[in-house]
Assembly symmetry: C2
Homo-oligomer: 317 residues x 2
Amino acid sequence: MSDDGPVVVTGGAGAIGHLLVARLLDAGQEVRVIDNLSSGRREHLAKYEANPKFRLIVADLRAPEAYREQFRGASAVWHLAANPDIRLGTADPAVDLELGTMATFRVLEAARTLDVRRVRFSSSSVVYGYPSVFPTPESYGPLLPQSQYGAAKLASEALVSAYAHSYGLEGHVFRFANIIGPHMTHGVLYDFFEKLRKEPDRLEVLGDGNQAKSYLRTEEVLDAMLLAADRAHDPVNVFNLGTADRLSVREIAHKVVAAHGGRARIEYTGGATGWTGDIPQQLLAVDRIRALGWTAKRTSVEAVDLTIAEMVRGRGG
Amino acid sequence: MSDDGPVVVTGGAGAIGHLLVARLLDAGQEVRVIDNLSSGRREHLAKYEANPKFRLIVADLRAPEAYREQFRGASAVWHLAANPDIRLGTADPAVDLELGTMATFRVLEAARTLDVRRVRFSSSSVVYGYPSVFPTPESYGPLLPQSQYGAAKLASEALVSAYAHSYGLEGHVFRFANIIGPHMTHGVLYDFFEKLRKEPDRLEVLGDGNQAKSYLRTEEVLDAMLLAADRAHDPVNVFNLGTADRLSVREIAHKVVAAHGGRARIEYTGGATGWTGDIPQQLLAVDRIRALGWTAKRTSVEAVDLTIAEMVRGRGG
């Protein structure tokens, strides 16, 4: 671990964030979480509240006066907080501007002005828009995101890069495939289980079901992020994080229905794209992170099977 | 000309903007200029003030209530307004966030909510950061801008793309080389003449003088933009606009000194990069715009020579 002081984690109460917090505390680091608990949950962090190395600051990134002092003396910030709902951003374009781009700007300003030298940012494969090359390498261009969420991720990457080059920070940018695991509040598995809970006999699938993406488990994406933070030290370090295979929405629908008792009929709304802003095909080239020694332990199929099993057992809620 | 209604031009009083306004009026279009006159000049547009097809709204893009109604009934917006001073953005990171990213967002929101279907945006080669490929194609990645100005340009491109794909607008993104011509308020030629005006015997050059870039005349970049707006109709149309050659800062310094009487001695501050945020080497691949039928009439050398001659005659001020 290259960080020799406290670290700040934005979005540290979220599905990915709280597992990062666990890793950092396990490694002996002092952790300061900033989360507005809009989609993150205080319960995820309850077991650390007595830990003297842990601190939770309930604050919104749009109001820096509420959290700025937490950056003082920190050696790094993991900036994971974001609006997790792509479709909400399409309905109201201000959401991702404020919770994405502006929030990243405020985090970077806190880092710059309080001399936090390392910034690690959770970006997304959606910065590629609908690419023409699969698997898509980090060098792919032009970057034409299709959603406000994607625009905010790319704008945030651009800010990380500008801060790194202009003010001497070290930046890490992680472009995530679909990350799945316990406690997710969005995504195809969550949506399918929610639909079946409301209507057990019918599963409506947006699009024609041929959308196919890479699915990576939360614990594995954390392995990759921690490794890259430790080993890669260019001014800006961009890494795709995903599996080498992909799985179709049709296959996932069949798996979820089977796990749910098998009686729901699957209905497709039709069309190649599930919803406005969706990127129907996604597969990332992961040679860069592999060269550092990381590789996904589970395929997309295995990651989806495990996550479905957890959700059926009620551990995914 | 594909626009069948009034067009909005942000930054229409600027060095490039007012020449675009002239072209549009010459083509018979109704033009609504929005400019806060912070770097643009009302004098540039004085000759149109009696033209019933022309309207100047002095307003800041950060305050949409002051200009939003100008989008009503318009068929297109040319969004050229920006902070023109890269170094100012490094000194105060809020400048490009507000005058770049946020301003573009507000322009796009005005377009979306008032049903303006075409957005043309003046971006910059600085979105490439310091590329490893020359000439740099539009497909180059990763995009790692070095300055806040560059980050705001990339963030604005990302917003144009998201709006185009999410709401059905047509977007044009023009990545400019160094644009030179009359009335510039920034850039290497302006800086050199200003320095010699203050201190005629000495010209300080930032860096080692080996920085080398492509220089394109204002009137030629307008030809390219108007052609691309007319002919390219993908959801998002990205075009590099530059010349096929480049010129070093050292050569430019010698040309300026010669034009200024030849007596100033040139002093280099040293280092490959002139200033924080500077991209010392720039040459854009222009195959895409050439395929539409445009090619630069003047080389970078010819463009610089013409502009120096104009500045010496006092027409460049």
